[in-house]
Symmetry: C2
Subunit: 476 residues, 2 copies
């Protein structure tokens, strides 16, 4: 009722892009409604992209002219069946260009270092280094820094489930953890389920190990399609699933917790291990962290992988796996691929975590990222042409954009680069180079005039782009 | 002439174990010989294990009672052909036990941290951390610290050959470098040549990638048999060789430089890449570092791998590959397996190397290790029973011992552990679990009464060991 009324006011232009909605308290008072009723109406409008919340400021009208929200991206329909993975040079080319400092990094996966407590980390590194004893250099090889493992285990415990210190294998970032876990569950020629679209590093890992990919449709808000997953498990007997259940890269999808439980049960019935890439888990909105699928695992089948690279210490390259019943195997693989982590940086992170400022840092990082996501989402909504589809992600670094049918993402990538703007074209995220009219944009930088202008330029390039085969159905 | 005379005096007990030989100057003066003649005689006696040199002290009689030197270990005769690698639990069990602090670490591959300039490294880490800029945390991801690459390139240049900065891929220790190089040259099912015996981590790497091993006889002083290598290349078309040309683990062999040149030429004729594991290269005796095979490579076929773990900074886990024409491929594999090295530790090593104390440290490390190798070799010579074969290695961490025929190295390993002494049994170093009556002993710890006693205890255990099938030929 309230929601519909506000929607009409937005459509009529009474409430204009950027306008602040009346506060919840004001609305309760003026209309005699309960706060929960007002919140519900605002949430509904927010989920439809009509308004957005700004931490400690309130709700604002989203900025699409006329107030008609862009629809959300459609779920892909990848072919049934498994296939070998042959990642093309595109990925490397994109990764390379996205890093040059004179290019607006809308295609980068690297966050701005300004988001992190680098001074405090530096102090922790210095003070822990001062206290390092010579034998630490040898004793901590293979098992890794015990204090750091304990701090990681404590964080699991705070989320309400237990991971023992012994289960934790410290690694060189989540990337190594994921690779080791994949290596532990699959042999060359085996098939592994991935999301469609999926993180390109997953595709690279599959290729490197000679594995086949089974791509499963993945919803832009709710994650992988469990019905289809169940079918492909029965049909193709995959050796594992590699999924990002929370703030998926590139979609930003967050699988609801009940669905995570169902996922774990489905996999347990078929004894299929889940490699859960959970590096964005800390970057949520609201009060509590979404639980990972790992929280519902009773059989030791979930190999949970994470790191400090996205939320605390990029450049330190410290991550871990909690590989359930495969912990021993992953530990062995770690030993034989790179022996051990770097002792001084592990000790530094242990020190930082023990000092206790991590949660405060995370709180402010979450606010910054939320504001940046909102700004990017708003700018896309405001500037991109009709036919664009986008949804506001509930966490993480990325906004996934479906361009108007016929706009070629790779051509757009090249044109944008000529304008010194990077983006991550959709075909990077598929074993079949699908998502030809999709792009992933990054909001891991402080939003400013440069990013705003770059998004506007991108929008103009999309608008100007030749549209091939307008009359054919989408190629996803 | 002089050599024979001294040998007779040793055999007759005129010169007794531990006695100092007359100095070169004295001998020149007393016999009217040129220094080079005297040196030649002493070298000959040393190569036969009758005497040993102690830096800045002179030559001493080796300590075998009666002065009869132990013969050197025989070269293995591995079967022709390639085979899948199935590393058994033995390796992990041995690696685990070798690390407990209350066990005398004759089986450990880890050096004593007391050998390293950990205080100066610590200061370099602290001062470089102070100067790290936020953007270093992101800019150095993938390519790695440029200053460190430059320092590494300069060290190649000092050896008289050029490796460009662009060719260097920084890794998490040599282990990762070797794994990435192997991954770059071979696909599952391919065959790779390894030495017999070979470093167990090479076997583990082959197994992990689903590769087959071709084991080639390797001489305890001069390295791999080039005749046999040529044959297996023609017969089995291996995709690569993985060799340690300098101070091989476990043999301690040092391939002469002319042989290295022949090796590179042989491989170039057949276009077979060489993965050269060169982590012990700095641990030589005498004035100049032995050149690696890489120095003779004109075709970009040598993938040279090394690290700072054995000679400067254990626990930091910083290594590199110089993969020749495969540099781009290895860099990509690095990117997709663990993204990048740890920025703070790379910066610390760059700082340490630029400060310029590295060569002084290496000089003192080489003296310490030489003394430790001599002490271990002497203790084995003095205490082990007849039938033992051993040779004084010219560098590195290890002494390879062939036990009397019929003494089972695995049984000895178990018995020794019960006496709180570790050793590395020969079957760890072979895809067929051969070298059943061989052990590798480590001299990477300061020699002291504990090590002396442990070696004596080991000798007694060897002497007391049941000898199975005394009348059968050796099982190598």
């Amino acid at each position: 009722m309230l929601a519909r009324e506000l929607e009409q006011q937005i459509a009529a232009g009474v409430l204009r892009p950027g306008d602040r909605l009346p506060s919840v308290r004001q609305t309760c008072a003026s209309r005699g409604l309960s706060p929960s009723t007002v919140f519900q109406a605002y949430y509904l409008l927010e989920s439809r992209g009509l308004v957005r919340s700004v931490p400690r400021s309130g709700y604002f009208v989203a900025a699409r002219p006329g107030g008609v929200p862009l629809p959300e991206p459609q779920t892909s329909e990848p072919q049934f069946g498994s296939q070998p993975v042959e990642v093309n040079d595109l990925i490397y080319a994109c990764l390379g260009t996205a890093r040059a400092r004179d290019i607006v990094p809308l295609g980068s996966a690297f966050p701005s270092p300004d988001l992190f407590p680098l001074d405090r980390l530096r102090r922790a590194l210095i003070s822990s280094t001062r206290r390092l004893k010579p034998w630490n250099m040898v004793d901590d090889l293979p098992p890794g820094n015990l204090r750091l493992k304990r701090e990681i285990a404590k964080r699991y415990l705070c989320q309400g489930f237990a991971v023992t210190i012994d289960e934790i294998v410290l690694t060189h970032g989540a990337m190594e953890a994921l690779n080791l876990c994949l290596n532990a569950v699959a042999r060359p020629g085996d098939a592994v389920v991935v999301e469609s679209p999926t993180f390109y590093m997953a595709l690279q890992a599959l290729q490197r190990l000679g594995l086949r990919a089974i791509e499963v449709p993945t919803h832009v808000r709710e994650g992988i399609d469990l019905g289809r997953l169940s079918q492909v498990i029965e049909l193709y007997r995959p050796k594992a699933c590699w999924l990002m259940t929370t703030f998926q890269n590139p979609l930003g999808s967050l699988m609801p917790e009940a669905k995570k439980r169902d996922l774990v049960e489905l996999l347990a019935r078929h004894d299929v291990p889940l490699i859960e890439d959970d590096v964005y888990a800390e970057l949520y909105e609201g009060k509590a962290a979404p639980l990972p699928a790992k929280a519902y695992d009773r059989r030791g089948l979930v190999l949970h992988c994470s790191s400090f690279s996205k939320c605390l210490a990029p450049g330190y390259r410290v991550g871990w796996a909690a590989p359930g019943r495969l912990a021993g195997e992953v530990e062995r693989l770690k030993l034989m691929t790179s022996l051990s982590g770097s002792i001084p940086v592990q000790a530094a992170l242990a020190e930082y975590l023990q000092e206790g400022g991590y949660d405060r840092h995370l709180g402010s990082l979450r606010s910054s990222l939320q504001a940046q996501r909102n700004s990017l989402f708003d700018a896309v909504t405001r500037h991109f042409p009709d036919g664009t589809r986008v949804v506001r992600p509930a966490g993480g670094y990325f906004v996934w954009v479906e361009l108007p049918v016929g706009v070629d993402a790779l051509a757009l990538h090249r044109t944008a680069l000529a304008h010194r703007i990077s983006l991550a074209p959709g075909p990077m995220f598929s074993a079949r180079a699908e998502f030809r009219h999709h792009i992933r944009l990054t909001c891991a930088q402080q939003w400013d005039g440069t990013l705003e202008r770059a998004t506007r330029t991108l929008a103009r390039l999309v608008d100007d782009a030749p549209r091939e085969g307008d009359h054919t159905p989408p190629t996803i």
